[in-house]
Symmetry: C2
Subunit: 483 residues, 2 copies
Amino acid sequence: MNAMQSLRERMAELADLAAVEMLAVWDQLVMMPADGAPARALALGALARVSHDRATAPEIGDWLDALDPAALGEVDADIVRLARRDWERARRVPDELAVELARASADGQASWQRARAEDDFAAFAPALERNVGLAREYAACVAERAETSYDALLADYDFGLSTGELRRLFGELAGELAPLVEGARAHSPRRTLDVPVEAQRAAVAGTLRRLGVDQTSWRVDVSAHPFTSWLGPRDSRVTTRYGDGDVEALLSSLHEYGHALYERQIDPALDRTNLGRGTSMSIHESQSKLWENHVARSPAFAEVLAAELGAGGCAVTAAELHASLVGVEPSLIRVSADPLTYPLHIVVRFELELAMIEGELAVVDLPDAWRERMRAVLRVEVPSDRLGCLQDVHWGAGSFGYFPSYALGCLIAAQLWEAIVADVGPLDEALRCGELGELQRWLGERVHRHGRRLDTLELLEQATGGGLEVAPFLRYVAPLAGR
Amino acid sequence: MNAMQSLRERMAELADLAAVEMLAVWDQLVMMPADGAPARALALGALARVSHDRATAPEIGDWLDALDPAALGEVDADIVRLARRDWERARRVPDELAVELARASADGQASWQRARAEDDFAAFAPALERNVGLAREYAACVAERAETSYDALLADYDFGLSTGELRRLFGELAGELAPLVEGARAHSPRRTLDVPVEAQRAAVAGTLRRLGVDQTSWRVDVSAHPFTSWLGPRDSRVTTRYGDGDVEALLSSLHEYGHALYERQIDPALDRTNLGRGTSMSIHESQSKLWENHVARSPAFAEVLAAELGAGGCAVTAAELHASLVGVEPSLIRVSADPLTYPLHIVVRFELELAMIEGELAVVDLPDAWRERMRAVLRVEVPSDRLGCLQDVHWGAGSFGYFPSYALGCLIAAQLWEAIVADVGPLDEALRCGELGELQRWLGERVHRHGRRLDTLELLEQATGGGLEVAPFLRYVAPLAGR
């Protein structure tokens, strides 16, 4: 077997093990009886250790050294390029640190869960302190020359983005969005609709069916927090949740569909290589946000959703439904924020985690800083840490540099949407009929099929002709403020 | 870390990976969308390869050599004893042969599936030929001195049993059972009950609930073929299936419950060691058969089952139900055979697979030999290979030496049942009330808790004071023949 074959075989094995890991997590969150948790944590640990061993094994370095990229085909050359990047990065982390990071992440999530339940930030502070310290230590190991710690952390989620670029982008975003909020509150007030759970279920099933979600290659289940798993090119699993009297399930199921469609439309030639998955968190989030913001929240697609709710026994007009899906009201909780203020929640988190990683904000001062920033950026008063800096799991899990992708996803989705419309013309009629094959194909061709062959900025450049921009998102939300 | 710690850590990892593999199979058979099959096969292959690598790694030999069993505690000494046995056995199989066996098993199952669907034995013969050849090659690698090929194959399922012992036992069994069949057909004729699926579902749920099957540490699902998975000490999953108008689900759910209870009651101190699972196929099958034959098919427990069916809206008397659960009629298909003739199906398979492995029966002659043996042993005419030698997957999967455990399970269950009654007195009253805590505890103490610390025959000796015997099973079936 030559070096390229050996390398491909190892990458296939790692992809297979990653699919098994995803299955184990899916089952944990969807099917597992509660008391199975301790055994599952151990099983996931074993799987992670084995995968890490195989991903960082010295023979990979030998294969890479033996290969001449210039003598390879395009795909093989990209396999080698990414394999070297991933392998070198992983090898820079000492085994003891990797183990300590995993342990701190598990402990931190448990600590966060207790602290949030009891609204007791002080109980969480030591775990957070440990996570911040370890993240800085990790960043010091993996940072390339000239990278800051936060740059190095970002690269795990979005290779090629820089802290400076995010500062600029999020500064502009906050500056432009804030003045729109008051107008949007008046022009698009938040309204709630009383839709029975059974009608929501029927509408979710019917809508997804229109988009190609069949029984033979998809599952749609319920979990506490919606998420997506891809266990193979034809084994896609999305989850949603149903609340009495809200219609979040309509948005979240389209959101998760966007993630799943991305993975399904990657070039089959990349399957079971290190290129055969979504390229970055921000591009992934752009795919979910595109279906959530630009499809599900469009006035035209509201006609489809209203018809599906009607078929499920709940009479609601498209206009009422659309109004309830886009109503703006600054609020405390990120995951239930409206489309306009959502990115502002991310701006706050970005500023604060950056300050913690750079050593400019002590963990003990986080709650006050959170209150201050929420007041400044969103103009809301935070009454408790449970509804404040304890609301998200990310920092408890030791994930720093992840939050930005949520806002970048909103921006990129808007950029892609304008590119699509420029390319194929207005989509209103297609949205109104729920016939979105052309949209699916455009995304497949311009975004999905590349897998990891293009990093975030290259992909964006090829798909839209430009770099990261705030303007398209501002144009998307302007009508909500009556502009 | 000393050698014992290293060994224990590796055994824990292998146990964790085995749990992941069991999950992947469970999901495949219960939850996976059909088109997920190719990716799942690859994922299972990767998992098997990684586990095999870790289980046969040379460092295990170093740890074993460094350990002095005499200086270890009892459990550690057993961990070392079994680790050496498993490791040496696995190391005797060349990697290429292991890969070839796995491939032939997958191919053979696919070939079998097609051949069975089309009732075309000739299409399956080449795959079976290959499997027989590979099994002989494998046996030659792993056989201990003085072991025949079939002895060596048996050891994978039931360590310590010999072909000679099985010949004697099954010869006696066939000789004693055959004369009972005619009497049983007259005394306990096969009857069918028309029980709606919904009532069956309710009765299965209600009955299992009485036995401690709760929502927090069990799952009960539906699959094409009933089976059991143990993903952790408190994550037990059984499946059953529901046919219109039969009550097989009542038997099969109790059968699978017996497998699950065995794994749940293993001493927690053995968890995540190489001792922390059922010791052999025959003991496992004795646990399922005990709940199927001696609980579910008892006249006393029929009162519980009838009450549960009644609660599910289907009125049936305990006597009617019991009669339908024990009716005897020689038939073609093993999995739906009655309790008396079931072991005769196994005797036929044992004789034929032994002859194939010993080179005394050519694959091409199997269909005729099958017809001849079914006529001689069960007195039935086999109208097609689909209802004959193509009915079971085992040979297609390359499993030779597995079938005997099904009959041994019947025999051992009857032996254990007599030992329980001798020990704690008649169980009729407990069966009638469905209060089987004492039975569960007895099994836990005498059978389950040992895990792999005792092999089949030692365990049987400790639990019953004797060796493998036919008489208790004959006493169990005698009443069916009115004796």
